[in-house]
């Protein structure tokens, strides 16, 4: 298509030869300038992603990854520097961020001690997932030192998810290397945590009852308001919406949650 357009330009427009001659010249001139302009912005932070080069092995039936597909994103180093990466994925079984290196396609388990977290594009939706190291959060929702926690909603009330994948006692036959192997089956073990303005964190399930139970000690008026918000909670996305509504309610009447 591009060739066709080029041909038509050449035959129909008088300056066709000039274009052929001048375009490479133009590109030649502009390239060093552009490369310099880009590199200037990279000077401000030292940035290098580090981790162990691993060889993935099949030990279980099912996928240990939150998403099987690699997706693009950015990794935030402890220095605050942000590294754009083309291919990352989260391994929920080992709780590691995997980076597929662009030059030799090595799998690198990113050193968790050197990063604050990562932002990963959802491979199926137009959405970005925000994962942070639990111990670096202002009010760590989990009781673990170096584990990733996903931030689903932030505000006076914050909602977190731990995207664990665990090996169940059930087994399945997996065929690889021409042989069938009986292996333990992997299953999602997602847990959700709601942190409240008073600094408490509650483990909740994405259902109405669990959501409203967090506020069982509050006055009747508060419980009623929460019940109205939590009426529709029947899954993860409903829970996120409910926490968003909770934040709006808190912003309009903070005394309700004293």
């Amino acid at each position: 298509m591009w060739y066709y357009k080029f041909r038509s330009l050449r035959t129909n427009v008088g300056i066709g030869k000039s274009v052929i001659f001048a375009l490479p010249l133009f590109l030649l001139f502009i390239k060093p300038v552009m490369s310099q302009a880009v590199s200037n912005s990279e000077y401000h932070h030292h940035r290098a992603l580090a981790g162990e080069i691993i060889s993935p092995v099949i030990r279980y039936a099912g996928s240990p990854y939150l998403f099987e597909q690699w997706s693009s994103g950015e990794v935030i180093l402890r220095s605050g520097a942000v590294i754009q990466v083309e291919r990352i994925r989260y391994d929920g079984l080992s709780d590691v961020l995997l980076w597929l290196t662009p030059d030799d396609n090595s799998h690198v388990a990113v050193d968790k001690g050197l990063i604050q977290g990562f932002h990963m594009r959802h491979p199926q939706r137009d959405d970005v997932l925000f994962f942070y190291m639990n111990d670096l959060l202002e009010e760590p929702p989990l009781d673990c030192e170096q584990c990733f926690v996903q931030l689903l909603e932030t505000g006076s009330f914050s909602l977190y998810a731990r995207r664990s994948i665990r090996a169940t006692s059930r087994t399945e036959n997996v065929v690889f290397g021409g042989e069938s192997h009986q292996m333990r089956l992997l299953a999602n073990d997602f847990t959700f945590y709601l942190s409240t303005p008073d600094g408490n964190t509650f483990r909740i399930r994405p259902d109405r009852r669990s959501f409203t139970r967090v506020f069982s000690d509050y006055p009747r008026e508060t419980r009623q308001a929460v019940r109205r918000i939590g009426r529709q909670v029947g899954g993860e996305s409903d829970l996120v919406h409910a926490v968003r509504d909770l934040n709006a309610l808190y912003a309009s009447d903070p005394a309700l949650f004293d």
């Binding site: 008088g14 300056i15 030869k17 000039s18 274009v19 001659f21 001048a22 010249l25 133009f26 001139f29 502009i30 060093p32 300038v33 552009m34 490369s35 310099q36 302009a37 590199s39 200037n40 000077y43 401000h44 932070h45 030292h46 940035r47 290098a48 992603l49 580090a50 981790g51 162990e52 080069i53 691993i54 180093l77 402890r78 220095s79 605050g80 290196t101 030059d103 090595s106 690198v108 050193d111 968790k112 001690g113 050197l114």
Partner: protein
């Protein structure tokens, strides 16, 4: 003919687009900053401090000023650098003080200030201020005596008169500045109050530097035009114009990799930066087009000796690495050669005596400003936690590193073949497999080229050994294990560093110095210690909004004479103004 005209027109258009792109990408308007340099006085005695203020401006009315580092250097007319410092800037500029070494010989010197970006425009566009500095033991003052003998037409009028005649206090059609004092005359150690009244639109903001100094310490003829230089376009003359990057956050360490044989630039060479440390850290970059490379010297790297090594290109080329000397480009200047008023040498001699008294009494009027912001230091760690840490002190003393490896580091295999030491590290993730290629070795955070030094290490010399015996990735670098040794005592790294290497002196930001004035209480007034301050008051940065009055006070010392309140400032719109007020101190 018409066709040729079209072709030429089109090529001209292409060139125009290129030039525009060059301007837009390499030097947007916000980057074309300029500097106005101001000092408390024009004449000093070696052993005193020069207080300076850097006003940052640009052709865009001070909007979007992004340079955060300035270089200030004191130099001789021949271009020899006496002192050179890095000064931290904010969006308006910076300030500080420079101590003049006691050994300086009497003569004219230049203080120059510039940003890295200004280096692209050449020495003539740097801010410059000429000063006269006398050695306090130079009784002859030959430099001044020669000037005094100049023909009478060259003799400058006494500067007090010229200051008094500057009665017009209008800065621009819409801005007016008045200095109102509570008296025209003050006694010894008496408090003086003055008020700055800036009449200007409320939308204006004035950034002001204030000084109160002896009138004889101002030599206007040395710097007849203290305006910032004309803001020049960045030269597009070749690629040299683009080599020096902008310092918008941290100072930069820049350099170039070239082929030793023909000095041709070499692209894509990985340059490694290490510092002596108790952690295993690594910073690297690659030389770009034209061989240039750059490192941001963040708080972790500041104040440390830096060692640069580079990877072999893998062919028969031998590489050379040079570091950009940002103080080198300052150039020479022509010292003042006109006549001087006979009162000048007398004043300089008096200043020498004043400083001798100050030194005798240990009077210090400079304080380093304590920074209220805590710098976040993030080491450039190669790994956060090693797989294994070995403490040799927990074992029986061993005589060399080969024995140490054999006895207490089973994950490390050391052999000597054909006069060369070879090392292999066990892959922790396997049962018995050793990596086929050697590990990276560090001693006290520095890379090891020559293993002989390491092999001579005894148990007593080693504090601990870190082993990262797994396949490791760091950016685009891969390691088949990392061995990092930390010694109990400091070690000269020269014998073990890879050859060749470049050592760079610590890069540090000059701490801002503030003028310190003793408290003017009754006790101080009665004190026997002489108060021989020449600089009675120095406030480097005061922001005054439109329609606002600002009050200041200071107290006089034990030196009588005519003094001047000097107000130098810059409006938000980039206009420079200067105003002064003369008063007397009668003892």
């Amino acid at each position: 003919m018409s066709r040729m005209f079209q072709t030429i027109s089109f090529l001209a258009l292409i060139y125009l687009i290129h030039v525009m792109a060059l301007g837009a990408l390499a030097s947007p308007a916000s980057e074309r900053e300029n500097i106005l340099l101001h000092t408390d006085r024009d004449v000093y005695v070696a052993g005193e401090d020069v207080f300076f203020r850097i006003f940052q401006t640009n052709e865009n009315k001070r909007e979007g000023l992004s340079a955060r580092i300035a270089y200030i250097l004191l130099q001789t007319p021949e271009g020899e650098m006496v002192e050179g410092y890095l000064v931290s800037l904010d969006e308006t500029g910076g300030y500080g003080s420079i101590y003049l070494p006691d050994t300086l010989s009497s003569g004219f010197y230049a203080l120059r200030a510039y940003t890295r970006n200004m280096l692209n425009r050449g020495a003539e566009h740097m801010a410059q201020k000429h000063l006269f500095i006398s050695n306090r033991f130079d009784d002859q003052l030959d430099v001044l005596m020669e000037l005094e003998e100049q023909p009478s037409e060259a003799i400058k009028a006494p500067y007090v008169d010229s200051l008094l005649s500057a009665s017009d206090n209008r800065i621009s059609p819409e801005v007016e500045l008045s200095i109102n004092m509570d008296s025209r005359m003050y006694g010894r150690r008496e408090q003086a109050n003055f008020e700055l009244e800036l009449t200007m639109p409320e939308s204006q903001v004035a950034d002001v530097t204030l000084a109160v100094v002896p009138a004889l310490s101002l030599w206007p003829f040395l710097n007849p035009d203290e305006q910032p230089g004309v803001i020049a376009e960045i030269s597009t003359n070749g690629l040299n114009a683009l080599q020096i990057a902008e310092e918008t956050v941290y100072p930069l360490l820049t350099g170039r990799v070239t082929d030793k044989r023909d000095h041709a630039p070499v692209e894509g060479v990985r340059v490694l930066l290490n510092t002596l440390d108790s952690l295993t850290t690594l910073t690297y970059t690659k030389s770009g087009e034209n061989g240039y490379f750059s490192f941001a010297i963040d708080p972790f790297l500041q104040d440390k000796t830096i060692y640069l090594t580079w990877e072999n290109p893998g062919d028969d080329r031998s590489l050379d690495l040079s570091i950009t000397d940002v103080f080198e480009a300052a150039g020479t200047f022509e010292a003042y050669r006109g006549g001087i008023h006979p009162s000048i040498p007398l004043y300089v001699r008096e200043s020498q005596d004043v400083l001798k008294v100050q030194k005798a009494y240990g009077s210090v009027y400079t304080q380093t400003e304590v920074q209220d912001t805590v710098l976040q230091i993030n080491p450039h760690l190669l790994y956060s936690q090693p797989i294994r840490i070995i403490d040799p002190s927990r074992y029986v003393p061993l005589d060399d590193f080969q024995e140490i490896a054999r006895e207490i580091i089973p994950w490390l295999r050391i052999r000597r073949a054909r006069g060369e030491w070879t090392m292999q590290m066990h892959n922790e993730r396997t049962a018995y497999t050793f990596f086929s290629t050697p590990p990276a070795i560090f001693i006290n955070g520095l890379p090891v080229g020559n293993k002989d030094t390491l092999m001579g290490f005894t148990s007593e010399m080693i504090q601990h050994i870190e082993l990262q015996n797994i396949p490791w990735r760091y950016g685009d670098m891969s390691f088949t294990g990392i061995l990092s040794i930390f010694t109990r005592h400091n070690l000269d790294p020269d014998p073990f560093l890879p050859r060749p290497y470049v050592m760079v002196d610590p890069i540090r930001l000059h701490p801002p110095g503030r003028h310190f004035v003793p408290v003017a209480d009754d006790e101080n007034r009665q004190a026997n210690t002489p108060d021989f301050r020449q600089l009675l008051f120095w406030e480097p940065s005061v922001i005054i909004d439109g329609g606002q009055k600002s009050s200041f006070s200071f107290h006089t010392g034990d030196l009588g004479g005519t003094y001047v309140i000097v107000v130098k400032g810059m409006l938000k719109t980039g206009e420079v103004f200067y105003q002064s007020k003369v008063f007397d101190v009668v003892l």
